[in-house]
């Protein structure tokens, strides 16, 4: 319990240092940035990055043009693409995060990383940031889709932009879940399956099947389910709406799971 409060204190102190006045010497986020840089380079030093990006682009393209009916719809927007991204990320993001801590444990480097003079939250945030930037790169590489709609028609590029922002938010949310799960197990398969399951709960919570089922029996829970649903929040972004509520939702969702990540890491360090 004491450790939990100290962790919370660390987080608050980090926030204060980031926005507060004490900006002398190395930046307080320095350690997190160094970790993120190393981690990002590691993605590209192994086939992980290329496999992930290629599969993501192939699936995103294929689904958009076939099931999404990109041409048949006759509308110049990226709706078909955006509607598949949460489901693609549901499987691809946990594949990215399953190795995040599990691999550090396997190589024993977790012992090295956590005995370097950086607060533990910075290691957690650094790893998360690297994965998030990586997802950003993968999303950015779908730019031919954006070019295509602009050549064929006259889409609202503001809506396209908020849609991409929404995709990034979804990626962040799933990444935070996956990273926390990965901190809890040495086994990458378990990390993957658990992360997919948990992300699926949050993705499906707002779907009509679930909410209708709940609203006939437990109307209160239906509201809760809709409130917790990642997909519901994402919908706003794809319609071109950036609401503060949605940003706060994703921010606190990510913050919560990063906090869980740090706590789990503390508890599981011993094995």
């Amino acid at each position: 319990m004491g450790g939990m409060f100290r962790r919370l204190g660390d987080l608050l102190a980090a926030g204060w240092l980031m926005w507060g006045p004490g900006r002398n010497g190395p930046l307080p986020w320095h350690g997190a940035c160094v970790v993120a840089k190393r981690e990002l380079a590691a993605y590209f030093a192994t086939p992980v990055a290329y496999v992930f990006i290629v599969i993501f682009l192939v699936l995103a393209g294929a689904l958009t043009f076939t099931l999404g009916g990109f041409f048949a719809r006759g509308q110049a927007d990226l709706m078909p693409f955006f509607s598949f991204v949460p489901w693609l990320f549901l499987f691809l993001v946990p594949a990215l995060t399953m190795r995040l801590w599990a691999e550090e444990r396997r190589h024993g480097t977790i012992e090295l990383l956590l005995t370097l003079p950086l607060p533990q939250w910075q290691a957690v945030v650094g790893k998360f940031l690297a994965a998030w930037v990586f997802c950003g790169i993968a999303l950015a590489l779908t730019f031919p889709l954006w070019i295509t709609v602009n050549v064929l028609g006259d889409p609202d590029n503001g809506v396209v932009l908020t849609g991409y922002l929404g995709c990034l938010m979804i990626a962040g949310a799933y990444l935070a879940v996956g990273a926390a799960v990965s901190a809890g197990t040495k086994n990458q398969v378990i990390a993957f399956v658990l992360a997919v399951a948990i992300c699926f709960v949050f993705a499906a919570a707002g779907s009509p099947v679930i909410t209708e089922f709940l609203s006939t029996r437990l109307p209160v829970l239906a509201e809760v389910a809709r409130g917790l649903s990642v997909a519901d929040r994402f919908g706003g972004f794809t319609r071109g709406v950036i609401s503060l509520r949605d940003l706060v939702y994703f921010g606190s969702f990510i913050g919560f799971w990063l906090f869980v990540n740090a706590v789990v890491l503390d508890l599981k360090k011993a094995d």
Binding site: G3, H30, G31, V35, A45, G108, E111, L112, L116, K269
Partner: protein, 242 residues
């Protein structure tokens, strides 16, 4: 001035198993402490707690006055730690890896490059500086881990089996290195090689079943014409029989 390493009644329990049982000792500047004991005696666990990786169940450890639990970043700044098995990121190059640890320790620009170069010179790594670590032999990997621990010239060094996997020449080099650094630092090394204790350590602690059973200079242990090995066997086997 307090000792650089202070360990007080450090205890670690895993469930009902007590891996480290109220271990206490201090190490001063200029001392090289050899940490001996059979496999599973609690050497690595003690070192992990001292390095601030594992939280102790009870007791405390301080490095240069900073408690490893209360003030971990401060304590880790003064520490060079070689974890068991010398873990490194396999896909990184030697230079890249050392630069990474140097950056986290707050070095940048030419100072960082100078420190990386010096650490590589001290551990004879210049020949492989651009090779990915996964392509290196066991001895080289161990020295990369060692270079990482020395890079910031810390007052406290904790090295878990620093010479494991090295050939006799490399072992000799590492021992020379430790001897050279000894006067200005507090050093703890764990080892299974008893001759190493004779060669570099000013003090030896033998630990068995989580308890310290001997804490004395190696010379004092070898009285009555017994070798260190005989002493070690008598003490640790006796413990198991008891």
């Amino acid at each position: 001035m307090a000792a650089l390493i202070e360990i007080e009644k450090l205890t670690k329990r895993f469930g009902s198993f007590t891996a480290v049982d109220e271990v206490s000792f201090t190490v001063d500047r200029g001392e090289v402490l050899g940490f001996l004991g059979p496999n599973g005696a609690g050497k690595s666990t003690t070192m992990r707690m001292l390095a601030g990786f594992m939280p102790p169940t009870a007791g405390s450890a301080r490095i240069c006055g900073a408690d490893v639990v209360e003030n971990p970043v401060e304590a880790k700044r003064s520490l060079g730690f070689l974890p068991e098995g010398a873990p490194t990121y396999p896909e990184m190059s030697v230079t890249g890896f050392l630069r990474f640890t140097a950056s986290i320790r707050g070095f940048s620009g030419t100072e960082r490059d100078d420190r990386v170069a010096l650490a590589m010179a001290q551990t004879q790594l210049e020949g492989v500086r651009l090779q990915p670590i996964e392509t290196l032999s066991k001895g080289f990997k161990r020295r990369v881990g060692l270079a990482q621990a020395l890079l910031h010239d810390p007052p406290v060094l904790v090295l878990d089996e620093p010479t494991d996997g090295l050939d006799p020449n490399q072992k000799h080099e590492v021992r020379e290195l430790i001897r050279r650094m000894a006067p200005t630092k507090a050093i703890v090394i764990s080892t299974h090689i008893l001759e190493e204790v004779d060669a570099v350590c000013s003090r030896a602690i033998i630990i068995a079943r989580g308890k310290v059973i001997v804490d004395a200079p190696p010379r004092a242990l070898e009285t009555e014409g017994r070798t260190l090995e005989q002493v070690f066997r008598a003490l640790t086997l006796g413990q198991e029989a008891a």
